[in-house]
Structure formats: C-alpha cells, structure tokens
Amino acid sequence: MSNPSEKVIIVSGGSRGLGQAVVSDLLAQGHSVATFSRSSSEFVEGLANDDRFLWKQVDSQDSKQLDAFVKAVLERFGRLDGLVNNAAAGYDGLLTLMRESEIRNLLSANLESVILLTRLCVKAMLVRQGGSIVNISSVNSVRGNAGVAVYSATKAALDGLTRSLARELGAAGIRVNSVAPGFFESQMVEGLSDRQRQQIIRRTPLGRLAAAEDISAAIRFLMSEDAPFITGQTLVVDGGLTC
C-alpha cells in the first residue's frame, strides 16, 4: 500500500443493500475493504479474487467471531484506518405488539454488536494514532415515527455513542461521525405501499427517495482527508425530509 491516502476499512454487513454500495464505493476509491455478514451473496463472491477485498461469514452478535474477524483483517492488511458500522436489523412493529425476543435482538444487533466491534477496531486505530469511524444511524434517530420505536432507540443511541467517542478519541486523531440516511431504495422500504412511498416523496424537498449511492457518498466524504476537522457530528442525508 504505497499511497498513504489508500486506507484499510472495515464495513460491517457489506454483502448487500447499503453495505454493498459502501463497499463498492470505497473499493473504487482505491481503499482495501474488509466486510462480513451472516451469509454470502453474489456481490461478495464476485470480489473473492480481489486482493483488496476480504469477506468472512460472521454473526455480529457473537463477540468471539467479531474478535476473530478483526484479527483476520489485521493479519491480511496489517493495519486498520476506518470502520463503517453499517450492519443492522430492521424489522418494525408497534412496541406493545413486539415479542420480547425481537426487542432484545434489535438491541443486540443494532447496538451491542456495534459497540463491541467498535471497541475492537479502536484498539487497532489507537496503535496507529488515527482513524475514522462512521456509524450508520437513521432519520428515525432525529424524528419520531410510529412502528419503529426500538429501531429508533438503537439509532439514537448510536448518535450518542458517536458524540461521546468523538470526545474520547479526538486526542488520538480518531474521528467519529454518524450518517443518518432517510428513506432510500433498499429492502427496508420494500414493505412500504405505493401510497406511503408517494407520501414520503411529497414531504421530501428534493422530491425522491435516496439511492444507496447518495448515502455512500456521504460516508466516503467523512472517511476521507476532505473531512479532517469533522468529528462528533450526525450528517442527515434525507433530501431535506427532516429540515
């Protein structure tokens, strides 16, 4: 890795959806990217022979698997410069109608796993005295929406994690930010009716749902040398929906 602007970045949950877009974008910038997911996909299988890419099957709710993954990344690439906490569970429902197991699963997948993975990655960044972390939050962390109370709680918690970690790690040259996407074309909005989609579009000043690439561009920016003095912030990427 001769070019110092080329980084080694972990993207959790990069086999499909937004994670896939983020992995593609970072690879296109010349970075090395390591990602994991519970199951493989055509996308990660297609990159299997790329020297700058690593995928492992990992259950993010198993801390031992997370530990082994980060060790494998350090062994393969020798360093770690960035982390994109993208992996998340997203099922919804009114709080009173949700099963306790669903609530616990959301808390575990969207919050506990993120904290544990971040802890592992920060250690590697401390050794190099630098790095950038982007937590994928949600507009649901800044605006209330019925049916996503637990999901919203986990994403708002990530924003709190972002701000406090930014203060903790700033002196070590490690930046921590959140990106809060609005509704974008993904599996998560497949369940919306046409009427719901049109309603969101009507309320969005820029007049459309986001594409995954709109979100990955914001992540690329926060990861890059173009954002050296930005930390502890939540960048809302929603076409103006919440403004």
Partner: protein, 104 residues
C-alpha cells in the same frame, strides 16, 4: 523467557517520550498520572499496543483498569494474564497476585 517488564517498559517509555521529549527513562514505581503525566487515553494506547505485542488484554476481564496506578501495576497485570492459570477463580487469582507481590 523475556520478563514482562522488558516488553511493558519500552512501550510506556515511548508514549511518555512523545509527551515529554526530555524524558529518557522511567522507574517501575513511577505513577502513571502523577509522575509520567499520562491520561486515560494514553493508557488505552499502551494497552492496545501491548495487546498487539503479547496477544493479551488483562483488562478485558481479569484486572480492573482502575487498580493500575504505576508502571509496576501494568507489569503485574500482564504477568497475571500470562500465567497459565490466568482463567482460574478469584481465590487463585489473588494467590497469583500475592506470589507476584512476594517476588517484589
């Protein structure tokens, strides 16, 4: 076998020198905060570097980070983690620590 001190002291000294370039050595009984001017983030860096060098993180479960005051305390923590019976029960851990204290 390399003594734990030979691994720990150079790592601590390197970080201390980064903060105070006039410093050329340190003593095992130096207080991390009072004598060496280290902050908690510096201690976190020391632990991260030592984990890369030794594969051990005694502060993950075995030893409370708040009990660490001096360079010697760091050495003792890694000695505890490196002991073959490091995953023993609390009573055994206390015995290991007592033996380490006797050696001092």
């Amino acid at each position: 076998m390399i003594a734990i001190e030979e691994v720990v002291v150079p790592v601590v000294l390197e970080i201390v020198k980064r903060k105070d370039s006039s410093r050329s050595d340190l003593h095992l009984d130096d207080k991390l905060v009072g004598d060496l001017g280290l902050r908690s983030l510096d201690l976190a860096e020391i632990v991260a570097v030592l984990e890369q060098k030794t594969g051990l993180d005694p502060f993950a479960e075995l030893v409370s980070i708040t009990s660490v005051r001096t360079v010697r305390d760091i050495c003792n923590a890694y000695e505890t983690a490196a002991a073959p019976d490091a995953d023993a029960g609390d009573a055994e851990l206390e015995a290991i620590r007592a033996r380490a204290a006797e050696r001092r």
